[in-house]
Symmetry: C2
Subunit: 661 residues, 2 copies
């Protein structure tokens, strides 16, 4: 164990294990999580070659091997709780996406939700036993977020009782689905349904794409891998072009909408039923943001405790770089943010479960709020974590660029969350739509519930973009509930400003749609402020549940840092709305420096509490024992370019060159 990191641990003011239990949501869960880790990490079958040393094809091959073993073992061990399966998978492929992700996460669940009992017999059990391997083909080359724009067609032919599927244009080629390129032999294809000469919009069709025996593409099918990407090297994201591909009528998923044998179309009873999955996935992504940022913070903070560089006082030994105020200012607000997002993730999980229970009882009343919240928080947390990971990476100096640090991989595998499951700007605008609607309802005197209920208060308090006289300054910058209050008022102000922008555009004879587009900068800003308020509020609420005083104390410091740092980064908003005065702003800057110094002795313990196993972290810089340099050196020596002392290019190019000069 490295001496510096040992010293850091001995200086912590709280019991790390107890904080880990809080993050896991209970002692039992910590225990069970570690049991699963140990199952995977002690399993010789899951040993792998460092993917950084492999070609793309070898990476894919290794991932398929591990996924196949994973399926067997999960069944052997009888792991059946979805959360536990998910965690087992995250250990087998340490936080890397893998080729069967869409089979397990989209193909099987879609069958469960949308197949008739007959179709379940036909498709589900074969898929459960990996005879059918499927993916979910929605996105097309020219069409993403806007589903109505999809071009793939499925035309019903009553004479043979078949659907004929086609990709009529280049832009209609299915593009991106994970596992589509090489792994799957079936795809659920989203296509515009045509029957009896009429288009009925998007429906889902089970399309066989490869021969069950030879795995060769079937006639009319052009399928393959879309080529290398920023990350996701293990996944064969694929393309699919359909040329008059005929499938039986039974292959349209008909639990809701139907096409009868004669071609008659029967509408689905309600559209809300497919809504829930999307909300669930977006809620989950909030947790992903927290975990990715936690990993990056763990690496950067442990390394900063081990790394010595430069000097603060002349003549003294080089200090740990964690002693530099600028380094603390880069990392501690991100550490606070990681904690904030972990608690928001917990809240989203609990809320989803509660509301899902209501939905199963037929009560959809809270769904719109959860939909808006999950969209906005998905965008807010992924954007923040995305830039935060890069700050962590760059805070490690040169070594952060080495693949041995794991930071490049954390980034490239995380950054797609900003785009998939709803592009972030589009998500922010969806939340804005809900906020504007709620604002107008509040104006009309309707009582709002949930996270937007402050719009009622705001109305009574007559918050305005620019109060003529300054509000009496009662804000205590050391009091979290006081800070929650001003975050709330900031959000209310920005929502009102966005609404006013729309109104002004309308007064200039713009259409509703143009008015919306011409106000979209303000709308995104308002959503962002709303989400920021929600995060500060939930972090503050969480503190009430913490009884251990030393943990309560350090978490309060983190929460305060999170809230105050967010204010300085958006100080214009708070000054403009006269929520804070200039002297208070200066006071906040000073207070932040004090909080950094206060957190310094607990920084390593706070990342230790994330309890990320070395095998999951997979970082030479972030190792628990702090023995950074020895392991970097050892890692480098194993690099493929070192397999021979002399690279063949010397004999091929460099030596002959001399003769010519």
């Amino acid at each position: 164990m490295n001496a510096d990191i040992l010293k850091e641990r001995s200086g912590a003011s709280f019991d790390v294990e107890k904080l880990t239990n809080i993050l896991d949501d209970g002692t039992e869960k910590t225990k069970r999580r570690r049991e699963i880790e140990s199952l995977v990490f002690s399993d010789e079958d899951f040993k792998e070659q460092d993917p950084n040393f492999l070609s793309r094809s070898e990476r894919y091959d290794q991932a398929v091997r591990k996924s196949a073993q994973m399926i067997l073992k999960i069944r052997d061990y009888g792991i059946s709780d979805p959360e536990e399966i998910y965690y087992y998978k995250r250990c087998v492929h340490p936080d890397r996406p893998e080729p069967l992700d869409l089979h397990l996460g989209m193909f099987l669940p879609t069958l469960l939700n949308q197949a008739t009992p007959e179709q379940m017999d036909l498709f589900f059990m074969p898929a459960w036993n990996l005879h059918i391997i499927g993916t979910y083909a929605q996105t097309e080359m020219g069409h993403g977020t806007h589903l109505r724009g999809l071009e793939t067609t499925a035309t019903y032919d009553p004479s043979t009782q078949e659907f004929v599927l086609n990709s009529p244009t280049v832009t209609s080629i299915k593009w991106w689905p994970g596992g589509l390129g090489k792994t799957s032999n079936h795809a659920i294809v989203l296509a515009q349904l045509y029957t009896l000469g009429k288009c009925h919009g998007l429906h889902a069709f089970v399309v066989p794409i490869r021969d069950m025996n030879t795995h060769e593409p079937l006639p009319g099918i052009l399928v393959g891998d879309i080529g290398p990407k920023f990350g996701f090297h293990e996944v064969d994201n694929g393309y699919l072009r359909l040329d008059n591909v005929r499938i039986p009528r039974d292959n349209m998923l008909m639990k809701y909408a139907k096409v009868e044998p004669n071609g008659t179309y029967v509408k689905p009873p309600s559209a809300k039923l497919t809504y829930g999955t999307m909300v669930f996935i977006r809620s989950m992504i909030v947790g992903e943001s927290a975990r990715a940022l936690s990993k990056a913070c763990t690496i950067a903070i442990r390394y900063s405790a081990v790394r010595h560089q430069s000097e603060i006082r002349p003549g003294e030994p080089e200090p740990q770089i964690l002693d530099y105020q600028t380094q603390q200012y880069k990392l501690f607000p991100l550490l606070a943010e990681a904690y904030a997002f972990l608690f928001v993730g917990q809240y989203m999980g609990q809320t989803y479960n509660r509301i899902n229970g209501d939905i199963n009882q037929g009560d959809f009343s809270e769904l719109p709020e959860l939909h808006a919240l999950s969209a906005g928080l998905k965008a807010f947390t992924t954007w923040a974590a995305n830039s935060g990971i890069e700050v962590c990476r760059m805070s490690c100096g040169g070594h952060g660029y080495s693949r041995s640090s794991a930071l490049p991989d954390i980034y490239v595998n995380f950054t797609p969350t900003c785009t998939y499951e709803g592009e972030n700007t589009v998500m922010m605008l969806q939340t804005a739509r809900y906020l504007v609607k709620s604002y107008r309802q509040a104006k009309e005197g309707r009582q709002l519930s949930g996270m937007v209920s402050y719009l009622n208060e705001a109305e009574t308090q007559r918050v305005q973009a620019q109060p003529v006289s300054a509000r009496p300054t009662v804000v205590d910058v050391n009091d979290l509930s006081s800070l929650v209050e001003i975050y709330k008022l900031r959000a209310a102000t920005l929502i009102e400003m966005a609404v006013k922008s729309i109104q002004q555009e309308l007064q200039h004879r713009k259409s509703q749609e143009d008015a919306w587009n011409n106000s979209s900068i303000d709308l995104v800003r308002a959503s962002d402020a709303h989400c920021h308020y929600v995060v500060v509020k939930l972090f503050t609420n969480k503190l009430r549940e913490v009884s251990d005083t030393s943990i309560h104390s350090v978490l309060s410091t983190l929460a305060l840092l999170y809230a105050l740092h967010g204010i300085t980064k958006n100080s214009g908003d708070f000054l403009q709305a006269e929520l804070l005065s200039v002297p208070q702003m200066l006071q906040i800057s000073l207070r932040i420096k004090e909080l950094l110094a206060q957190l310094r002795p607990n920084a390593v313990a706070l990342v230790d509490a994330f309890d990320i196993n070395d095998r999951k972290l997979n970082s030479c810089l972030g190792r628990y024992d702090g023995n950074v340099y020895e392991h970097m050196f050892e890692w480098a020596r194993r690099s493929p370019l070192n397999a021979t002392e002399v690279h063949e290019s010397f004999h091929k190019y460099l030596k002959p060159l001399r003769a010519k000069l």
Copy 2:
């Protein structure tokens, strides 16, 4: 040619070619640049396989092949102007670093600067003819920016008249030098010189590391590649461990400092002489920031003109995504920034040449200002371009993640500029040191020159962090010189705040060093504001040189957008210093929206003016002809995973799995 992009081009209000000439700094230079491009791009010898489809070893191999050919051709064609050589190289390896970078850019120049005439005979000509291939080994595993911390030793042994080189610890292993791993047979090693029992600090030694004939490592040398990184796949960044390696006395570069045969050390006459190279490289990086951001903007803006998605008005066809206000708000400020940085890059080049002329005349007076400016602007522009490239990438939706977009590669090859040649935070603090010194000199009534001369004015105007009474509001937010003025006052205010923080810390009985560290957040902020002012000022100055009215008009719009956008992103600073009022801030937000709409018709023409050849851009999304989808599809089909229809993993793992379930 894609119809959308054709329409965009026909709508431009200015002559693209004339703007290209301004960016190239003259019609002749545009012409010559295109001649060089055509030399390279029409040359069959430089044809390459898409590196994205190759393994690391194949990428390295291909790069060495091209570099060897490049050396021959540059000599054949008699290209001798350094700028032209540099540009030729950037076409051969389209903006990718390559294995001979350090041989050409550091090894040869260091010999030129620091070798004696005898040493030139010994090393320079063999190196010029690629018999000696060298690198520059400074950074160690445990030591980067802080040179005094380097641990490698070179101990003089008078009995044999040799130096004995050693890497005494793991942290002292040389780490990162480009071309060290596999390519070089020599290295200039920076080591602590010991002679007659005394340490004389860092000196440079020419160390043979591989056999000139077999290329095998020499005795006592452990050398290899440091393994895969975020980018730089073509470069064999290497490690070097020295174990009692003996080199002749002649191998210490002795143009300045010397060790006599008996071991007597002779000091160098001045330390300033090595200062210039560093300043030169940092100045050059400003131009790199501009070019990287220009490429990213070219790709994102052309793609946004071609991509149709979603709807603004119901029932109408899907609009070009460039019509969304949020998309314009992401991209146009970055486009303005790219122009700003191009002009700042031009200024830095001219200033360097001017001051370098003075230095050759023995006049060092302007060097400290240039040193401070190049450090700060290196950090300011690389940070901004770094995050800007990622905004561009994510503005392209899913396709921005594909390697075919080129955006991932632009990012990974650019982001190291934030760390190398001086870590950015350290750079900002170096600039801050100069600013604080200048501030104190101004306080003492000394007349400052150059970019910091405003500190004299500020002193006379008694700028304070919080003026008791608000300054009379005379700022015209549509007038660039008025905006330059408030950027200047913001910088002055923040410098004063940083100085006050230091003073307050000193009053709390802190040492000078602790006071500096405890104020470093404020110091970085002050440097950032100073650099921001310089950029706005230089952009504004540039407009005076532009005579063409239509180009002047569009560049003025860009400059105004750059300045106003920077204000809204830092609105707290301007409000806190009472440089702008709340109503002005609202006015600025509205004005920005108008500017976005104003720039919309010229957006594609403005990126066309960067005139980045398709072969250099190498992006399916950013192609000049706008035929995005066809080329993405074609690219994907060539991907190695599509070499066979069925991947072997199916037979190895997936088919056998069925039998077991």
